[in-house]
């Protein structure tokens, strides 16, 4: 086994689940998270000799994100669907609309978790990705900034907005259910 392959297996491959989780949260049909991750791992492997640094995880996740953006761009181009407005989504953004809650689900906490996942999945990408990277991967602001290619201040403000939107949407669901039951 080559030295590059050995180092890649030791340093990059342990982050495969993190790569897949990010791809899965970013990609929406018809995009396939498996294809995005395979593409990303191969690109990472080819570039691995030129990687300088001791923190592989953010480097690898930034490649995953770039592969996602490339794939998403191609899909949009192929289907000739107009790009969504580039900017922060307003409260009337259809991407933020959450399905009405099912009253019978009120008492089930797994159901609540599923609804939370639904809310996250419907956040615009720039908010979804900072939440996944911070809360699920426990990455620092600096690492997240590296992955999304934005300043730390942007990470902080997006994270704050993402959490605000999440809380509002999630809790309004829960309260809506409570109201129905009363």
């Amino acid at each position: 086994m080559s030295d590059r392959r050995r180092r890649f297996e030791t340093q990059a491959l342990p982050h495969l689940d993190a790569a897949y989780n990010l791809a899965k949260w970013l990609a929406r049909p018809p995009l396939d998270a498996d294809d995005i991750v395979q593409d990303a791992m191969l690109r990472a492997y080819r570039a691995f000799d030129s990687f300088r640094g001791d923190n592989v995880k953010p480097w690898l996740l930034s490649i995953v994100r770039n592969c996602f953006l490339t794939a998403a761009g191609q899909t949009r181009h192929a289907r000739n669907v107009p790009l969504p407005a580039d900017g922060e989504a307003g409260s009337d953004d259809p991407a933020l609309v959450v399905d009405a809650p099912d009253p019978e689900a009120a008492a089930i906490s797994a159901e609540e978790g599923r609804r939370l996942a639904d809310v996250v999945a419907k956040l615009p990408q720039e908010f979804r990705e900072v939440l996944v990277l911070r809360e699920m991967e426990d990455l620092s602001y600096r690492e997240i900034a590296q992955i999304i290619g934005s300043p730390i201040g942007t990470v902080m403000s997006r994270l704050a907005r993402a959490r605000g939107m999440l809380k509002e949407k999630w809790q309004s669901d829960v309260e809506g259910v409570g109201h129905v039951l009363q």
Binding site: H15, D17, A19, N21, Q38, K57, M136, D138, L159
Partner: protein, 257 residues
């Protein structure tokens, strides 16, 4: 949200502040109801995201696909691992209850040229089993006074079971398992969305490596007295090493034999 300190509270919550700045935020939290409520909301959403929403893991088929792609790329295809004939042939042929476990075991065997070591193989397989079945935890608790006595009744060793939630490693429970024919106690931690299993068993004269890697899972071994330990997870090696350091500092285990 109108308090100017809101972003600072978020930084505090995310562990981004040094001790001095953190103390300032704590003082502010005592007097600002709005920020205290914000902190509670941050905790609620984090708990929901870490414990109730899905964390998607790479399938064994994807791991195999990537291994194949890397082989092709580097022109390295071990003679004992032929190119897979038709994508999904092997995986399509396997179906039913035991297939996932079998496929995982195969993936472990196929992925790396393996230096045989029964403990490494046993622990990797036990870790995989614990992740894919409901048998991750026998005793659910973040309380060492619950987990440690449970070990005393169910395994040969009583390793320390200390919660390191403040350091980012939350104790979530314990389990009985087997390593190399020994009854092992497993202390289970959650780090972010990753599970770290810490196995403890009575050491024989087997040779244990300091670290090992199987199928993308890191294993870190150490011994304390006559107890052998192994921490295993799909998280990074440094992150596992941090836990093993905390664990080793937490106190000597009690051997009941």
């Amino acid at each position: 949200m109108s308090c100017n300190e809101a972003l600072r509270v978020q930084e505090y919550f995310d562990g981004e502040l040094d001790a001095g700045a953190a103390a300032e935020v704590e003082r502010h939290l005592e007097t600002c109801a709005e920020c205290a409520a914000l902190l509670k909301d941050l905790e609620t959403t984090r708990t929901g995201l870490r414990e109730s929403s899905p964390y998607y893991r790479a399938s064994d088929e994807l791991r195999a696909r990537i291994a194949d792609a890397l082989d092709d790329e580097s022109g390295e295809r071990p003679a004992w691992r032929p190119a897979r004939i038709g994508k999904g042939f092997l995986w399509g042929a396997l179906s039913g209850g035991g297939a996932t476990a079998l496929a995982a075991a195969l993936a472990v065997l196929l992925f790396l040229p393996v230096v045989p070591n029964p403990a490494v193989d046993d622990i990797t397989n036990a870790h995989l089993r614990s992740m894919m079945s409901d048998h991750l935890i026998d005793v659910v608790s973040s309380d060492r006074h619950t987990v440690k006595p449970w070990f005393a009744g169910h395994t040969d060793v009583s390793p320390p079971a200390v919660d390191f939630a403040k350091e980012g490693y939350a104790l979530i429970g314990g389990r009985a398992d087997y390593v190399d024919g020994h009854r092992a106690a497993v202390v289970v931690y959650r780090h972010g969305k990753h599970v770290i299993n810490v196995f403890a068993w009575i050491a024989g004269d087997e040779h244990l490596p300091a670290t090992a890697l199987r199928n993308g899972y890191h294993l870190v071994f150490w011994k304390s007295g006559n107890i052998a330990y192994c921490a295993v997870s799909d998280t990074g090696l440094e992150e596992i090493a941090t836990l093993t350091q905390l664990f080793q500092n937490a106190g000597a285990p009690v051997n009941r034999e």
